[in-house]
Amino acid sequence: MTSAVLDLPLPRESLSRRLSDALFKYRGLLLTLLLVPPLLWLGIVYVGSLIALLLQSFFSIDEFSGTIVREFTLKTYAELLHPANLDVILRTVVMAAAVTAASAILAFPIAYYAARYARGQMKAAFYLAIMMPLWSSYLVKVYAWKLLLAKEGAVAWAADQIGATPAIDSILSAPLIGGPSLSVSYFGQFLVFIYLWLPFMILPIQAALERVPGSLIEASADLGAAPNQTFRTVILPLALPGVVAGSIFTFSLTLGDYILPQIIGPSTLLLGQAVYMLQGTAGNIPLAAAFAVVPISVMALYLLIAKRMGAFDAF
């Protein structure tokens, strides 16, 4: 055995090697280079335009000429409190809350199974099944649901075949959520919202559950907790950050959507439609901006409450 050092030549000095040397020496430089483009994008293009929009909400519109009066006023916000506008806000917030709650309840068992039991091929199949609806066009999915939920549609037909028509009729005859058919009722709208946003709820919950070590669940059982107690005192608190993350998606996506409510549901407006119409046909940018502030405030309030309740304590 020889102990001679292998006499390899050093790699050739090239521009890229010298660049690597510089980046190795000045760590901050690399970080700056990596962060400047996204920060420019987020900071100026995104947040900047958002602020520009929000500033519009402090302007008002001249009722005679229809031109924007560029003076600071809270008049536009006062308009939000007009019963018709308040109605839009309330209806949308209730719909978003209902969609979020239903999505969370539907998503949890699926996410729990995927995080704790699915392995190998089952896990791949799970991801595929969750992600696949996201690959197809939003509009195609919404129109497909319109046909499914129509009076002579597949859902009504299937309900008829299994004798569930009375159940659907009782939903349709219910006040508020009902209507002539599922496709023009709030209940139908609610179903399609859930369908659209469910993946955004499942994935964060699954990610949160994935981080809960199995030994914690065993420890809970070891200390005398029956499965339902373990769920309440260990699994749910640790999954809560995931539920909150998921509900940010489902809640804000529902609050802002203006296409689905045009296609499915009654003719009354949701918040997103109101913003769309005000800044488009009506040309009332200040009121549209004031409407746009509503979901932002609702989300901020929601996150504040979630934090107060300790949803982010475990991390």
Binding site: S215, L216, D222, L223, G224, A226, G310, D313
Partner: protein, 357 residues
């Protein structure tokens, strides 16, 4: 013994209990995972109030045994009873045993006191009472003033103490410890060994301690079970297991004995049996030093002298047989690899074994 009465008191209402002080009994217990026989037809009796260690390499079935007692696993065959009550089908949360987990498994969303009192809270005890008991348990493991901290803010040793307090506060009939000292550094580990043993003695509680560290098992236990491939190969006091290993596996795993084949033993002047010869029973002399009467001798070549603090581990080649000796540093001060040496031991140091697992 008074310390043993507490667990049995609880079962006094059962007239059929043959109150013989058995904490845990395994009868022909098997647990298979697919083709892997993690535990394969095991019989075992753990006495009430003893510090019992399950010692073995990883995958030998010791942790599965612990999980069977805790109820996280159910046996495929055989029966387990805890204080003479069969526990088949009884879920973990209905068993009067508690576990100290290898990774401690502290709840990250709860502070230290809430972690310790979790079991009491689940049983519906009021806040004031359970916090009093929780503080007592934390004092027992010498962890005071950490009540409102969270697990990630504690060191490994402190987390280990919290896990111990969290289990003990429930007054289990049996405490299960799954390699609880594995993640600690040497000094902390030795401290905790002393404390665990003192705690067990003062509480009079049955401790079942799983470890792959033979030093740990020998220094703390009343009895040790040596596991290999889903079987228990020997159960006994640390002295019995260390000094009178019954099989080649035990001799090699516990303390790294020299195992001599029958022919080799006969060549060295011993019986024609499979022999265990402890390294510390072998004396090393320079070749040519007058031999002592009554000792058996082998001459060989020194291959290696390993530094071990006050001791030196000498590895020698005696005509193709590798022998390992553990001797005082002073005895081999000038010994270098390559030198001829003479190894000797008393005939009584040659312990005959069965040639089994």
């Amino acid at each position: 013994m008074s310390v043993h009465t507490r667990p049995q008191d609880t079962f006094a209402a059962h007239p059929l209990v043959s109150s013989n002080g058995t904490a845990v009994r395994f009868t022909h217990v098997a647990r298979h995972f697919g083709a892997v026989k993690a535990v394969d037809g095991l019989d075992l009796e753990i006495r009430a109030g003893e510090f019992f260690s399950m010692l073995g390499p990883s995958g030998s079935g010791k942790t599965t045994c612990l999980r069977l007692i805790a109820g996280f696993e159910q046996p495929d065959a055989g029966e387990i009873s805890i204080f003479d009550e069969p526990v088949a089908g009884i879920p973990p949360y209905r068993r009067a045993v508690n576990t100290v987990f290898q990774d401690y498994a502290l709840f990250p969303h709860l502070n230290i006191l809430d972690n310790v009192t979790y079991g009491l809270r689940i049983r519906g005890m009021g806040r004031a009472e359970r916090e009093k008991l929780g503080r007592e348990a934390l004092a027992l493991v010498k962890l005071i003033g950490f009540d409102t901290r969270r697990p990630p803010q504690l060191s490994g040793g402190q987390r280990q103490r919290v896990a111990l307090a969290r289990a003990l506060v429930n007054r289990p009939k049996v405490l299960l410890l799954d390699e609880p000292l594995g993640a600690l550094d040497l000094k902390l580990r030795e401290e905790m060994q002393v404390e665990l043993k003192a705690l067990q003695r003062s509480l009079g509680l049955t401790f079942i301690f799983v470890t792959h560290d033979q030093g740990e098992a020998l220094s703390m236990s009343d009895r040790v079970a040596v596991f290999n491939a889903g079987h228990i190969v020997q159960v006994g006091t640390p002295e019995e297991v260390y000094e009178r290993p019954q099989t080649r596996f035990v001799a090699e795993f516990v303390g790294g004995s020299n195992v001599l084949e029958p022919a080799v033993s006969a060549r060295f002047g011993g019986p024609e049996r499979l022999i265990s010869l402890r390294p510390e029973a072998i004396a090393v002399r320079s070749s040519g030093v007058a031999s002592e009467i009554g000792r058996l001798h082998a001459s060989g070549t020194c291959i290696e002298v390993q530094y071990q603090g006050a001791m030196r581990r000498v590895i020698a080649d005696c005509a193709g047989v590798r022998l390992c000796a553990l001797v005082n540093a002073a005895e081999v001060r000038d010994l270098n690899p390559g030198e001829r040496i003479s190894l000797s031991w008393l005939p009584a140091a040659m312990h005959a074994m069965e040639d089994g697992r």
